[in-house]
């Protein structure tokens, strides 16, 4: 490639009287393999997640792990000994530090800890250098700040390097090309075995206008999907068993590589790699990765960056950002149905209303919704909340008349969606108030019901960190039937921690004055009697997320 990019970092290499087009992810061509591996992990804003679900390292490698905290909360990252629990037990040991936790960066004095960053503040960065264990296995990593570990975890896999090429050979051709020729029709200048079975492009003193065909065999030890990453300056193409897997033809500088995949059976497979160099910069990088082994370079030159991970794409969608106005997202919402209306409220809380059941289906904190599923492509299926601390109310209608305190809550209406609302209900829409916050409206047996939620920091107990969301329901326009109850939630495990306060899960509680806990088909449920004062009934409830 007869050009260079002055805006990129360039390197003058000894023995090469030319500039190599070299970008930050490129290691110097033909430099010795670096003693170590760089891994960058980001935290995703308001989602309580790391951006990658895992990474692979070689046994005994020196690893430089960079933690970029892009969230508004502090986080750390602790790598633990292999454990099937995603590091949760260790995180609980950290939480047990209690008041000492902050001072100790939530790192417990525990033999399970292999390496740990300190707490990293919002939009800060921390580096961790450690030596990967010699023993192969899955080593969980986790954020041990209280409440984070359930969602913020991942796995460092210590895996062997894959096998290198066997029976590697090259054929060198001379010619002036702008695209790969068919080397089988060209006469090689010379040919021979590859030194150390490693693919390299330097033969004799040719710097310009040559081409090489590399052949060899690759041993696949476990059948499955294999990934091949290839880039070059200039063109190249890889075939496995005669089938094209990945290529970058034409004249161009090298880049971070294109990844092709192939399903390969156990046993030996034929590799053919064609490469040509026009003029100027030159380079060739090929690696592979497969079941049970780490990205392994088949070329003498290697890239620093890890193989692009598809997980990263999955975690980086189209998050809808909520600032000082409520954001409404009406769509197919997992847990809130095909007539779901999600609302992201200023203040870091969210809810999803099921406009078919006429009920609040979900509340959660942190990030609102990822619109990628519905706003790119055709957009089928249901999208779950993006944030964390999700509380599902248990899909059912909000009201029922309970004749006795132990009258069971009626079963949810069957065969929804059915083109109509449950008997007695009719959804009426919503009205936007201050900061664009909606109040949902529906009718229930002739009564006009309004259901309103919003963030309410004042509801937090003094000195407690966290977020709170207040819900106010009103019923007007008629007499409230005797024995009418509102059900706020039905789920597996609910405990009454004090009168009218119910623990819904780790660090999540519901406060409902007059609320009553009783068994339900799901486990337990919280109901509250609806009584009318001067023709209108009003029920208040508060959802609280600690820390």
């Amino acid at each position: 490639m007869n050009c260079c990019f002055p805006f990129l970092k360039t390197k003058r290499l000894p023995g090469l009287a030319l500039l190599l087009a070299s970008s930050p992810w490129l290691n110097a061509a033909d430099a010795p393999a670096p003693d170590g591996q760089v891994v960058t992990i980001k935290t995703l804003a308001s989602q309580m997640k790391y951006d990658i679900a895992g990474f692979k390292v070689l046994p005994g490698t020196r690893v430089r792990l960079i933690l970029l905290n892009e969230d508004e909360m502090p986080h750390n990252l602790i790598i633990t000994r292999p454990a099937p629990d995603k590091g949760l037990a260790l995180a609980q040991a950290a939480w047990a530090l209690g008041e000492q936790g902050v001072a100790r960066n939530w790192i417990p004095d525990d033999p399970r800890v292999l390496a740990a960053t300190k707490m990293v503040g919002p939009h800060a960065k921390e580096e961790l250098v450690f030596t990967a264990p010699a023993e192969k296995g899955d080593y969980p990593y986790v954020c041990t700040f209280p409440g984070h570990a359930m969602a913020m975890n991942g796995v460092m896999s210590v895996v062997e390097e894959g096998v290198k090429l066997t029976d590697g050979k090259f054929q060198l051709f001379l010619g002036s090309w702008v695209k790969l020729p068919d080397f089988s029709k060209e006469k090689p200048l010379r040919e021979g075995p590859l030194e150390d079975n490693l693919i390299g492009w330097k033969f004799d003193d040719y710097k310009n206008e040559f081409g090489i065909r590399f052949t060899g065999k690759l041993e696949v030890k476990t059948e499955g999907e294999h990934f091949f990453r290839l880039t070059s300056d200039d063109g190249s193409r890889l075939r496995i068993d005669g089938k094209g897997v990945v290529g970058q033809d034409g004249t161009h500088p090298a880049n971070e590589g294109k990844v092709g995949r192939a399903m390969l059976t156990k046993g030996m497979h034929d590799l053919t790699l064609d490469y040509f160099q026009g003029t100027g910069g030159a380079g060739l990088f090929l690696s592979w990765q497969g079941p049970g082994f780490q990205e392994t370079w088949l070329t003498k030159s290697r890239l620093d960056s890890p193989m692009p991970d598809r997980q990263q794409d999955e975690n980086n969608g189209l998050p809808l950002e909520v600032r000082d106005e409520a954001v409404i997202y009406r769509n197919f919402i997992e847990g809130a149905g095909a007539r779901g209306i999600a609302v992201g409220y200023p203040g870091g809380v969210n809810a999803a209303f099921d406009a078919e059941l006429c009920n609040v289906a979900l509340v959660w904190r942190g990030a609102f919704m990822d619109a990628k599923r519905h706003w790119t492509g055709r957009g089928t299926g249901f999208q779950p909340p993006l944030g964390f601390g999700v509380v599902a109310s248990g899909l059912n209608v909000p009201f029922a008349v309970l004749e006795k305190t132990d009258t069971p809550w009626p079963a949810p209406p069957k065969d929804l969606p059915n083109g109509d609302w449950p008997a007695g209900y009719r959804f009426g829409g919503y009205v936007l108030g201050k900061a664009g916050i909606p109040t949902f409206r529906y009718t229930f047996q002739g009564l006009r019901v309004e259901d309103h939620l919003e963030a309410d920091a004042a509801s937090l107990p003094p000195g407690q960190q966290g977020v709170a969301m207040k819900r106010v329901l009103t019923l007007q326009g008629g007499s409230v039937p005797a024995g009418l109850h509102l059900r706020l939630i039905s789920s597996k495990e609910i405990k009454e921690s004090s009168s009218g306060v119910f623990a819904l899960g780790e660090g999540i509680s519901l406060r409902v004055p007059g609320g009553r806990l009783r068994p339900s088909v799901d486990g337990m449920e919280v109901v509250v009697p609806v009584t009318s004062a001067s023709g209108a009934a009003r029920i208040e409830a508060t959802y609280l997320w600690n820390l």
Binding site: A355, W375, T376, G429, L432
Partner: protein, 496 residues
Amino acid sequence: MTRSSIPFFLAVLSVPALAQKAAPAPEIAVAEREYYHVSALPEPAGATLEVSGLEMMPDGKLAVSTRRGEIWMAANPDNAAPQWSRWAHGLHEPLGISWNDGWMWATQRPEVTRMKDTDGDGKADLFETVGGAWGINGDYHEYCFGSRPDKEGAIWNVTCLTGSGASRSLFRGWAVRVFPDGRSVPVACGIRSPGGIGFAPDGECFYTDNQGPWNGSSSLKHLKPGSFQGNPTGNNSFEIAAQKGFSTGELKGRPVESQSGTRIEAGRQLIETFVPPAVVLPHDILGHSPTGMCYDLSGKFGPFKGQLFVGEQTFSLLQRVFLEKVNGVWQGAAFHFLSGFGSGNIATLMTPDGVLYTGGSDRGWGAKGGKPFALERVAWSGRMPFEIHEMRARPDGFELTFTKPIDPKSAEDPTNYIASSWTYIYQGGYGSPQVDKTSVRIVSATPGADGKSVRLKLDPMTKGHVHAINATGLRDGEGNALLHPAGYYTLNEIPH
């Protein structure tokens, strides 16, 4: 540039493209622009304006709904730099908006909604569910297109089947009329995959349905109350409705089972309520995916007063449709109208002043225009294109009228016309090739006394076939060829 200089100009530019077929080549767009100016509206900064609905507000603002659920208002939309403001957000893929009775009406996927800005801050704050008794369960294909209000203020909605060919919930593949008081009244069944819905000038409701199962080609269909539109997939709603106690409205009973592998003409014989496609928009010739429609009554949009302009998503076009009622059945002809739009047209709007707005997106299916979304304004330049104006069926042929005086010599020569006819298989499989292809002889061509029409006698005239007439050799008084020489007439009925 004068009209007569175009053929030479095009010949120079387009030599390599001449051998290619079907879709209008880009050069036709160049020729068309002499008669119709097409200009892109600058989108609001940062917005993904995947146009899904259009409306002209009483204050002259252009309202634009998007597939991402927003409604934007453009003040001075005819200006090079309209001022945009966001009026609403958070809607579920609205496909059809209209302003009536002080409310903005929108058909969202799950319901018809009306909206209002009660405090005058330029943003809607009241979102009222009007109604919409149809099922929905999370499939991308569960689109719902809504009309403007009819004379009773009701919105006509056509629901796509769940998945491209199945219906698991109530009234999918049906047309449902939603009244302002919230009542939902089913009016037609047998729908597959609509792309738009609207009214003809006399108030009859039409929709476009896309090629697929039971649709050999895409077409424009007449939503006659009580009708079956040809796709039996959604007929299970008759049973679902009976079980759940829902009224099937104008539909009096489940249509007789369709016979796959036949013809629509045979289906009409078998199924009493089967209303055949009014105008087939021949697949691959006129497009792949027809959408919204509008018409002009002002005469300011050129010579096609009262005719329908139909959007086309895949080919990024507008088609033109002439309709007539023969033996009580709607039918008519389709013509190429304008090509070269920026993205896949979905919504169309004609203003009372004869300005057409159209826009859309290519999301999910792709469009030739190449842009992910676009909004464009179309205005007549004032120059008269030489086009077939109307194409009417006669007992033994067709009468073609033209927008300009024709050269009688070229008009009376039968060899100046090429005619053919064909139909499609009526089947449960996807689409259909053209079948029963028939070569049609032009028996005679008789120019009309008005100097702007010609009466063609054809042999044979085949009931149920699309009849294509390509007036390749016809010239106007100045020796120019037709801008779009072909018309495609769907002969459901032969006049007595």
